[in-house]
Every structure is written in C-alpha cells, then in structure tokens.
Symmetry: C2
Subunit: 218 residues, 2 copies
C-alpha cells in the first residue's frame, strides 16, 4: 500500500506521526512524506521539524492520502495555495482512501472534496468547516464513501487503526495496536468538549479562535 | 520548563512525538530535540526522518529528559555509545524528571540509572530490561522518585499527561488533553498482551525477538 502524507509549514507533528506510526507498524505500507518543496518542515510550535522527502510532482498517486492539521492559523497557507489543492484533487482521483486529521479537513474542504459531506475536524473548527460547505459531526472518525475525516490531533491514531482494519483486516489492526501498545490510560477524562470542564472548553475555544484570526507565520 | 528529547538513528517517531506534542500543548515547555550530531535522524521504519536541532554539548541541563525507544535492534547503538550515556547521566543530574518511552528504558539502564529500580518498557523487552538490572513491571506509567518509565510507543502520551499534571497541575494536563482531543477510541481492545489474542502476542513477540538479535543498521 502506498501512503502519502501531506506536510506544510505549521503542521502539527502528531497529526502526521500518529497515522504514520500505525501504518508503518503493519509492515505493509510504504509511507511518503510529501510537500510542495523537499526539506525541513517547521512545526506549529516552532520547536522542531518534520522532513518532506518527496515533492508533489514525485508522488502522483496513493492508496491512502493523509492531510494532517495544524494549530490555527497555519491551515490558511495550504488552503490558499493552488498547487497544494491541485495535488490533493489529483491524488484523490487515485486513492482508495482520502483522509484528514484535525483541521486538515478544512484543507480537504478548500480542495472542494467536502461539499455537502458529513465530516469532522478539531472541535474548535466546526464553524469554519460548516462555512466551507461540509456538514460537521462530532464523531471521532467519520467515513463517507472513501473520505475519512478524524477529530483533533490524537484521533489520527484511531483513524489509522480503522483504515488498517478496513483495508488489511481486523488482525492487522490488532497487531499494529499491540506493537504500539496502544492501550490508552490518560490520567483524566477530559479529551473531548463533552467531557472536559466547561470553563476549560470555553477558555481553549476562545484562545484557538484568537489564533485563527491571525495570519500564518506572523 | 526546559525539555530535552534524545534522538538517535532508528528511533520510533511516535515515542518522541507523543510526549513532545503533549508538552508543547501546555505552551509552558521549551522542547529541544537533541542528538550526538545535528541534522536528520532516520526513523526505524526507514520511511522518514525527525530532526535534531541541538547537539549534546549545546544542551547540558533540562527539567525533563525524554529517552524514546525504537524498533529492535536500534537501541544497541545508543546503549553502546559512551557519549550518549554520558550525556544522559549528565542531564539526569540536573533534571526534575528523567523519563523513557518504550525500550528507551533499556538505554536508561545502560546509563546505569535503573539498577534495582522498578521500571517498564515495551512488553517485548522485559527480559532484556531485567538482564540490565531493572525490575520490570507491566504498569503503563511507572514513577520511581524522579524516574518515570512508560510502556510501548503510544504510552508516551499518557506519561506526558501525567508529567504535566505533576509539574503544572491537573488543569494544565486536562487542557493539553482537550487541545489534542485525546479521547481514545481504538476500534479494538488489543493494545496490551493481556488483552490481545494469544496467537497474535506470540507471533509479535517472536518477530521482535528475531529483530533484537540483529545488528543495528543491518
């Protein structure tokens, strides 16, 4: 299986690395990190880098396309870059699965792939997702035909385990889960806006909205 | 808070990126990716890279040290490299928390930090961990004084959320969890050897043991 993971400056590392690690653990996936230009890709935190090993012109098809998200407002750059959107549309024609993690679904929307499609995103991005023509839902992994969108950041791990189950079977998914020892035990149960304290939800929503009103790389 | 994450060729990306992402989400941590040499660090899958922005001589103290693991046999290189072990011992003198993810605990052991200490590792590495003088336990996150070891790969996320709770408080941990939307929903419950089908556990244990008998970079 050929996997293409889009990278762009400002990406959230775990959005990309979660699915990568699950798919790599199957030992049946060839994962390629792809960007407009090869080389270092600065993370949204500005505290590190991922690395794009391929350019768009070098990867013209894939079985699975993964579009990761980012801290706002970094999605604005790929959403407004025609070369990026063209590449997504081109790959989508060839994929078995076109997927996003977190607000990567905003980028899929900008490429025109989510018009009237039920989809998810980071819980703070539902208004923007709706304004782009998708129909937001707060499920963690949403499958609509061959388009699969996942909720915020860490949900890419769950999404990738689903993809592996659908594509390579239940045993392959369990095997990847066991190799990665994915037996989650967070110390608190605050991982969704339904479960976290209301004051915390409000504070984070406001902070991320403030970020989303900024310009990228400012 | 100053965080140092050790990188070395053959590292497992999620072992490093899980804790990084949690700590970065607090917006109170300055995370540095550190290796013997600056530059690209090849992942164990050989399908991508992380990037070391600092050398050992540039990072001589940290509040938290994170030693990630790798697919076997890649841990053998740092375990047999005196410069790496010296750096770990040096940083340990300065840390509030010295931590490992997955078989990163074998590297902590090689540095002499786990003699007679209760610790964990990837579930396939308990025999090696014991042979190095530690006392293996299958808890997901093990705290012994200021040494915290975590189980396989994905457990670094849970460990980092614990560290944030201990160091910055419960609200900071819940906040990071909510930002990362860490509300795990794996499709199966096969993430530990106690829960996965016995045949799968046996097969993966044998495969990883075969790998561990190889030489690194072969």
């Amino acid at each position: 299986m050929e996997i293409a993971i889009l990278l762009y400056d400002g990406v959230t590392a775990l959005d990309a690395i979660g699915p990568y690690e699950v798919l790599a653990a199957t030992m049946k996936c060839n994962v390629k990190f792809v960007a407009k230009k090869k080389g270092l890709i600065q993370l949204d935190s500005k505290m590190g880098y991922l690395h794009a090993d391929y350019t768009f012109s070098e990867v013209t098809s894939a079985d699975i396309l993964v579009v990761p998200g980012c801290s706002p407002p970094h999605y604005k750059t790929p959403m407004n870059d025609e070369a990026t959107l063209d590449w997504i549309r081109q790959l989508h024609k060839t994929t078995k699965w076109t997927t996003s993690v977190c607000n990567g679904s905003l980028i899929l929307s900008a490429a025109g792939l989510l018009n009237g499609v039920v989809a998810t995103s980071h819980w703070c991005s539902f208004d923007i997702l709706r304004s782009l023509g998708a129909i937001p839902t707060d499920e963690r992994v949403v499958r609509q035909g061959k388009i699969v969108t996942a909720a915020g950041v860490s949900s890419g791990i769950d999404m990738a385990l689903q993809l592996v189950a659908w594509e390579l079977g239940e045993n392959a998914s369990k095997s990847a889960q066991l190799i990665l020892e994915y037996d989650p035990q967070p110390p608190f149960d605050a991982g969704s806006p339904k479960k976290a304290p209301a004051a915390l939800v409000k504070r984070i929503r406001r902070a991320l909205q403030d970020f989303s009103n900024q310009e990228p790389n400012s």
